[in-house]
């Protein structure tokens, strides 16, 4: 196609239009990234408010006021919803997927740039809607992120008719945005690779993001149907989930969790991909078992469709069905453990560089293991009878989601920041931020395991109303205090950002001495990523570190083989 050389001459929109109307995958990536960061601050603020209420019930929370029970419900509901759909997914999948995939496979952009732009615009609309739902008359939806009917379907129960419908529409639009984006990622990875890049030369993080997109796309369909049914129940009085009209609330549970369970692997896989890239680079060692890891991830993806009803163990499902789902749930822990063994085996014997990204990657491993192991208790239907809907569940999923979203997110951010912005962040500030986040994190959620085992249930705004639980109040105060400390330490991150943007040292093309293709172009990459006549060709896999044939301990993918070799 003769126009491709001209394509690079077309620099894309300039000025303010660049940030609103660009189709360049790197710009779209940043749009998703900063939107995700903004939503994280909002979601984090919600957590701050409700944790203050739990530690000091009835006391006016600085920056918010007194928290009413209805507001408490809206806060916990929207904290969860926002963190999953407007922070975890946009940062890990949309932002880093958009930024990395074309660069890492040696392409000049995604294959459908305009659909890419459209996906962000729909996503932005969904973010505006979910925020709007918080401030409309009646308040934000408070029926939990799981939105079970009849609470979610009947305004006479949820008392938030506007907020509830806006919530469902916002989530539905977010789904559409990610369906569009996902098709771009999948098709780009499958088709647009650099010459010479075979399937097993693709960096793991790209595989993981694409697998996550496939998992998402295949699991969200029934829930989209369900969301349409729920909106109709809410607004026009149908009875899809109303037994009196021939409907069934349990159907919603199935529709939701058939998606809801694969969804957690949708966010887990990209995070593990990020960790793999970082570990290989900073252990200076070839990834142990590329194909093993890849096929294990595929097995996890497949198995993830077979475990969903472990969220419904005490919903009155057939106990025989509960048995089956216990078995499948325990089974899925095996390939996940496998992934971690691959990472350990890569670290073993490596020459480890403890940079800030590496610290985040290692912290991911340490904390996620705790989350994963506590999942085994919850996945056993017998134990779950006691533990369901307690703070044990909450601590379990924060020991998984927090490593995935926050720890994995910071790992990716600090690792690829030099490439995205052309500057090196301050390592000292980075390490202070790291320790100030990870240590307090444990002091927030270990207490919550204890509270959960003690019988404390979720979604209750004031435990002083329960005499048998009131005595554990010091534990709640400890958790909240740790959260305040952790939030305080985020200042170091923003300080680092501002300092680096103003006068950080230039990064150069490949500050980490990594092998993958994104490090062969300028930092930040130009429009089109490489000059049109010098698009990279690939000669080897992405993890050739410490190769005996080389003097240097890394071997970029695009270096032609030595003459005569």
């Amino acid at each position: 196609m003769a126009t491709t050389h001209d394509a690079h001459a077309d620099h894309g929109p300039q000025g303010i239009l660049k940030y609103l109307w660009s189709t360049d995958h790197k710009v779209i990536a940043q749009q998703y990234l900063w939107t995700g960061v903004a939503m994280a601050i909002i979601g984090g603020f919600m957590a701050y408010v409700f944790r203050m209420q739990l530690a000091f019930p009835g006391v006016a929370v600085p920056g918010f006021g007194v928290v009413s029970p209805g507001e408490y419900n809206a806060l916990v509901t929207n904290h969860g919803t926002i963190m999953i759909f407007w922070v975890a997914m946009p940062v890990l999948i949309a932002a880093f997927g958009n930024f990395l995939i074309p660069l890492m496979i040696g392409a000049d952009d995604m294959v459908f740039p305009r659909i890419n732009r459209l996906s962000y615009q729909i996503f932005l609309l969904s973010a505006i809607l979910i925020l709007a739902s918080q401030v409309v008359e009646g308040g934000g939806f408070g029926g939990a992120w799981t939105a079970y009917p009849p609470l979610s379907s009947m305004a006479e129960y949820n008392l938030t008719p506007l907020g509830s419908t806006l919530w469902v529409v916002a989530v539905g639009l977010e789904f559409v945005a990610f369906l569009l984006g996902g098709i771009n990622f999948i098709t780009t990875l499958m088709n647009a690779r650099a010459p010479g890049m075979k399937a097993y030369d693709i960096p793991i993080v790209c595989w993981m993001i694409v697998m996550a997109s496939i998992l998402f796309m295949l699991s969200v369909g029934p829930l989209i149907a369900g969301a349409v049914m729920l909106v109709f129940d809410q607004t026009i009085g149908t009875g899809f989930f109303n037994p009196a009209m021939g409907g069934d609330p349990i159907l919603w549970q199935h529709l939701f969790w058939f998606f809801g369970h694969p969804e957690v692997y949708v966010v887990l896989l990209p995070s593990i991909g990020v960790v793999v890239e970082i570990v290989a680079t900073f252990a200076r060692k070839k990834l142990f078992g590329y194909r093993l890891l890849l096929w294990t991830a595929i097995v996890i993806g497949v198995l993830s469709f077979f475990v969903w009803a472990h969220h419904q163990f005490i919903a009155g499902i057939d106990p025989r069905m509960a048995n089956i789902f216990t078995v499948t749930t325990l089974l899925i822990s095996i390939p996940i453990a496998e992934l971690f063994f691959v990472v350990f085996a890569t670290l073993y014997g490596g020459s480890i560089r403890f940079t800030t990204p590496m610290l985040w990657a290692l912290a991911f491993i340490a904390t996620f293991i705790i989350g994963g192991m506590t999942g085994i208790y919850l996945g056993s239907s017998g134990a779950d009878i006691y533990l369901h809907d307690t703070y044990f569940v909450l601590a379990h999923f924060h020991y998984t989601f927090f490593p995935i979203t926050i720890i994995g997110g910071f790992a990716a951010f600090t690792y690829w920041f030099p490439k995205m912005f052309g500057k090196m962040m301050d390592e000292r500030l980075g390490k202070i931020h790291f320790w100030g986040t990870v240590i307090p994190f444990n002091f927030i959620f270990i207490p919550l395991f204890i509270l959960g085992l003690g019988g404390q249930h979720r979604r209750i705004y004031n435990f002083q109303n329960f005499p048998e639980l009131a005595a554990m109040q010091p534990v709640r105060v400890l958790a909240t205090t740790a959260m305040l400390v952790m939030m305080g330490f985020q200042i170091f991150f923003f300080w680092n950002l501002i300092k680096t943007f103003r006068k950080g040292p230039p990064a150069g093309k490949n500050p980490w001495q990594s092998n993958t293709l994104e490090w062969t172009t300028d930092s930040p990459p130009p429009h089109g990523n490489w000059p049109a006549d010098r698009m990279p060709k690939v000669y080897r896999g992405p993890y050739e570190y410490g190769h005996p044939d080389r003097d240097e301990d890394f071997w970029p993918q695009d270096l032609p083989p030595a003459r005569g070799a």
């Binding site: 001209d6 098709t187 088709n191 159907l251």
Partner: protein, 190 residues
Amino acid sequence: MSKPLATTRSATGIPTGRLAVWWVLASEVVIFGGLLASYLMHRVGHPEWAEAAAATNTWIGAFNTFVLLTSSFTAVLAHQAAERGDGKKAARFLTYTIGGAATFIGVKSFEWATEIGHGFTITSNGFWSFYYTAAGLHALHVIAGAIIMGFVARDAARNRELHRVELIGIYWHFVDVVWIFLFPLLYIAK
């Protein structure tokens, strides 16, 4: 704006646009599949819904099936013409397909107006809720497909982007396939 180099590559051997359409279809299969599975579970579990189901008009449903099958036929003839490079002919067949879509929507509007007039609304009972939701979601896909097809036809008439004729055709056949299942589910299974 010009297409990126990435769009022209094809490591799988399938042109990028067509590969994307298969993935779009996969995502639509699970959306409609989820909705129709939910409907079927309820329908089988509620034998008393047969009374409501008896009120749908099988002849109108059959006519609309005929219309969509015919429109699929014209769509694939458009594809054949596009492959031979005859953009004008392809555009003509696509226009017939859009005409089929319009006929389908027209007949459905008349059908629904009649049913609503008889008091069968979306809130009448569970069967009717699913009936209007499923057929309505399908009709939205018909309308969206027809609009996109209009743009493709306009380009094809000028012999531009002829590969898109096949792509919108594949989507259109999928819309037809969904109706092929909706017809027995909503009209014949009484």
